[in-house]
């Protein structure tokens, strides 16, 4: 490795950036001017003069809420909810309003940067940066094959990088939203119903009479439409059962709060199944008509009574029984909320199975007050030419996880370190990473392993709007536009009010940032694959698709940025092996897994240690927003929640600053103590996304602590590779 020093594990994020645009050279600046003139034409309206309201959809989290942006003389001055939009209904969470803090953050990445030394970058022209990346990619492709290039990504902006990967012939792709987030849930539901509950969860929280939550901290997790429906339900008198070691916002509004011992949810779920079946409180008609494996399930849970579950969970048997009864008696208006971030303990797919099975017993599937069936508007495909290549993957994910449907990011990390990847055939080494819009150091556990993997790369490209921990490991950093400065693919999810919504630039790209589609297209052209991007500007792709639908950009804008159609309830069918709801899973049995979920008694913290739990706060989306001035004003730093008894034992007071240390000796940045009865004594809690270590983040550098750095242990889900991370125990360092 000739260039090892460029990615040494020092705090690369302390990097000095030498020079600025000035060093990029006059010719480069000239070409930038020409490019920015081309970008002008992209704007939906000539918004550089006068006041306009431009509809689009949000990207501060990933619900993609409809927004209306007021633009005055070329500057965006306000973001409001779009009343025409079915998933914002004119309302926004604070992050949606605060999107301007992201757009106008002076800390944004402003020019392409190329590494010149261990902790030094120089500003370069786009020409130079693109040539550098394309040349290196070409060498990797020629030497090792296209599958040696891995794409790690998140969000709608990644779409044209996926197209680039088609073009080069690589299938080596991964996104943390799978194995680090809701992947296990979706696979568990796929195996049960043949389909998941949706990325915007198709749940009738506004109509259900009784809803149970396992974690799932709505109100702190501010997914707009979900929270709207959740609170509508509350207003209508919906009764909630909240299982959470923390007195979350959701727990505080519930009829029953079950402060479960962390790690034992499965015992509770199995006991609930027991009560529903043995007390005849299940939807007999739904099960008889649609499900298979009921008798086996009944036999399986026979001994799993509330009394059996009580000592594991720390809950009273009577409470377990009573809550199951309340759910069962509310059929057909009962729902177990599917949850979202699911990578907890390593048996996550099985926990999802147990939750899906309960929803089957409640007859919730296909119910307006349960998990409703979504309808959608089909967006016609743009006629991209066929790729010359049959795309290949660097390793056979299916061999390792036959029931999975995506590649866990940690497998790409492992496969980058020679000899480390296990469990499937590796066809080619991974020599290049392109990381689009995902701060892996904050989204994947055990970040030290990522740093190690990066050492083995010949090329590491990061495309981001902001400096982030991951950009410190790049050879080349390319400044992306924010969602307010570009076109992206339209959003048309399955929902009960089917719609298509448009994302369009409301202002010109700031600094030298470029839309992600432009970057992907430019690289394709330099790789001799330009014909695979058969459009001039991504706007043409959108225009084509809308025309196929009998509309146009002008037309959709006149309709408030959304097209809608009447909901047609789809026919209920189950795309499982048997065509039925599978309470007993033969595919799982065949693949060597438990066909029905069983309880594993996970390890619990030793003396003087506490389980580290983490979650959301309404004002932020992970590390994505932790430098956003508007949102920082609302929530300036994360705190560590400590039960008063533990505070006494540990000698810490409200407002003290402490560090945390995990069992592997990893120490966190200092974090403010919040002593509260809202948490059990065996765990601690913090909001995710703080403790930034990149000095270029002037508002968030070393503010609060980073939970992810403490997650050096994780339990891998054998079914699909989810990295269960709630298995780390920490103690106090003063």
């Amino acid at each position: 490795m000739t260039t090892i020093t460029r990615r040494k594990f020092i705090d690369l994020t302390k990097s000095a950036i030498i020079g600025g645009a000035a060093v990029a050279g006059a010719s480069a600046l000239l070409s930038e001017t020409a490019a920015s003139a081309a970008n002008d034409k992209e704007l939906a309206n000539d918004a550089s003069q006068g006041e306009w309201v431009i509809p689009s959809y949000c990207d501060v989290c990933f619900m993609a809420c409809g927004i209306n942006v007021t633009v005055k003389n070329g500057r965006a001055i306000k973001i409001e909810g779009n009343p025409e939009h079915p998933i914002s209904r004119g309302k926004l969470c604070p992050r949606g309003t605060g999107g301007l803090g992201q757009l106008y953050d002076p800390d944004r990445l402003k020019t392409p940067l190329i590494r010149t030394g261990t902790d030094q970058f120089k500003a370069v022209s786009w020409q130079e940066a693109l040539k550098y990346v394309a040349d290196k990619m070409q060498t990797i492709i020629d030497t090792h094959g296209p599958e040696s290039m891995a794409l790690l990504k998140h969000g709608k902006g990644a779409n044209q990088f996926v197209q680039l990967w088609h073009a080069i012939g690589s299938k080596t792709e991964g996104h943390p939203s799978y194995a680090q987030c809701r992947g296990a849930r979706d696979i568990g539901w796929d195996l049960t119903f043949g389909k998941g509950p949706g990325a915007i969860e198709r749940v009738g929280l506004d109509q259900a009479e009784v809803v149970a939550f396992i974690g799932g901290h709505l109100g702190e997790n501010m997914h707009n439409v979900t929270v709207q429906d959740y609170t509508t339900g509350l207003r209508k008198g919906s009764k909630h059962i909240v299982v959470d070691p923390r007195y979350s916002t959701t727990a505080s509004k519930a009829k029953h709060w079950l402060p479960i011992r962390p790690g034992t949810d499965m015992a509770l779920l199995l006991a609930w199944i027991h009560v529903l079946i043995y007390e005849d409180l299940y939807d007999r008609e739904f099960i008889e008509n649609n499900a298979t494996g009921f008798d086996a399930l009944k036999q399986h849970v026979k001994q799993m009574t509330p009394e059996w579950a009580a000592p594991y969970t720390g809950l009273k048997a009577a409470d377990i029984r009573r809550t199951a009864q309340e759910l069962g008696k509310a059929i057909p208006n009962a729902l177990l909320y599917p949850g979202r971030r699911f990578a907890w303990y390593g048996d996550d797919t099985q926990r999802a199975r147990a939750m899906a099975i309960i929803n089957a017993l409640l007859g919730a599937w296909g119910n307006e007050s349960g998990v409703f069936l979504g309808d959608k508007i089909k967006v016609p495909k743009f006629p991209y030419p066929k790729s010359h290549h049959k795309a290949k993957h660097a390793f056979e994910t299916k061999e390792k996880y036959p029931l999975g449907n995506s590649t866990p990011v940690q497998d790409i990390i492992d496969a980058t370190i020679p000899g480390k990847f296990k469990g499937a055939t590796q066809n080619a080494p991974i020599k290049g990473w392109m990381v689009y819009s995902t701060n892996l150091m904050r989204s994947v556990p055990n970040p030290d392993l990522i740093a190690e993997a990066v050492q083995h790369l010949d090329l590491m490209v990061v495309i981001e709007t902001m400096p982030a921990e991951i950009t410190g490991y790049a050879d080349v950093i390319l400044p992306d536009t924010t969602y307010l400065e570009r076109y992206d693919v339209m959003n048309a999810p399955e929902w009960r009010e089917p719609f298509v919504s448009l994302r369009q630039p409301v202002v010109k790209p700031l600094y030298q940032s470029k839309p992600s589609w432009w970057i992907a297209k430019q690289l394709a052209e330099r790789l001799g694959l330009g014909e695979q991007f058969n459009y001039g500007n991504f706007k043409e792709v959108i225009e084509y698709q809308l025309q196929q639908m009998g509309s146009s950009i002008k037309d959709i804008n006149e309709k408030g940025g959304v097209l809608k159609k009447a909901y047609v309830k789809p026919k209920m069918k189950f795309k499982t092996d048997s065509g039925k709801v599978e309470l007993y899973s033969k595919p799982m049995e065949k693949a060597g897994y438990d066909p029905m979920p069983r309880f594993i008694n996970h390890s619990h913290p030793p003396d003087n240690y506490y389980r580290l739990l983490y979650g959301r706060t309404p004002q932020h989306t992970f590390s994505r927003t932790s430098n956003n001035a508007m949102l920082l004003e609302l929530f300036p730093e994360n705190e560590i929640w400590v039960n008063p008894e533990i505070a006494k034992v540990q000698g810490v007071k409200n407002g003290d600053y402490v560090s945390l240390k995990n069992k592997n000796g990893v120490k966190s940045n200092r974090i403010k103590v919040r002593v509260t009865k809202r948490i059990r004594q065996d765990c601690l809690y913090m909001a995710h996304g703080f403790g930034r270590t990149d000095r270029r983040l002037t508002k968030s550098f070393e503010v609060g602590a980073d939970d992810n750095g403490l997650l050096t242990d994780y339990e891998i889900d054998p079914i699909m590779g989810s990295t269960g991370s709630q298995v780390n125990f920490v103690t106090f360092v003063k």
Binding site: I77, L92, P94, G219, S252, W257, R322, P618, L634
Partner: protein
Amino acid sequence: MPSYGMSIDLTTCVACDACVLACKMENKVPDGYARDWTEEILTEDNKGLNLELFSNRCQHCEDAPCVSVCPTEASYIKDGIVMINKDLCVGCRQCISGCPYGARYLHPGSYVDKCTFCEHRTGTDRKPACVEVCPTSSLVFGDLEDPKSEISDLLQKRKYKVLKKEKNTKPKYYLLLPVYNKASKAS
């Protein structure tokens, strides 16, 4: 003559701060200041913990101490909304100490500022920015004199409380008590 008031539903407010930011944008409130804010009050009784989460702001009191202490008559009441004429305000801060709710702040422009219920929107089809943005629809604004208004209807049907009732300022910001019931802790 209308008399405007506002209610917040303790059933649904999650204290997400959407109202705070929407207000700041609409009313161009400078960095570091806010006209509204959120509160979290944790108590404990025989049923266990109890959490009140709510958005808070000027209570637009009928007997507003801020108005009576103002030496320049900058603070006044219009249609039940406590307003400030910033041209008359000398920034003496007597109203800031007079307000039991901490609702006023000294604007960097040397005048006192606070929630106006987005008075500039009354008479239009727009509601106050905080009400419009609220993802939980917890805030309701309207004319208390109009028996058919949504807020009058809510105050008829729902139990509510006001903050610091003992101050006798007749606040017109109503906290609707939760409709959910908690199960008894003992089981």
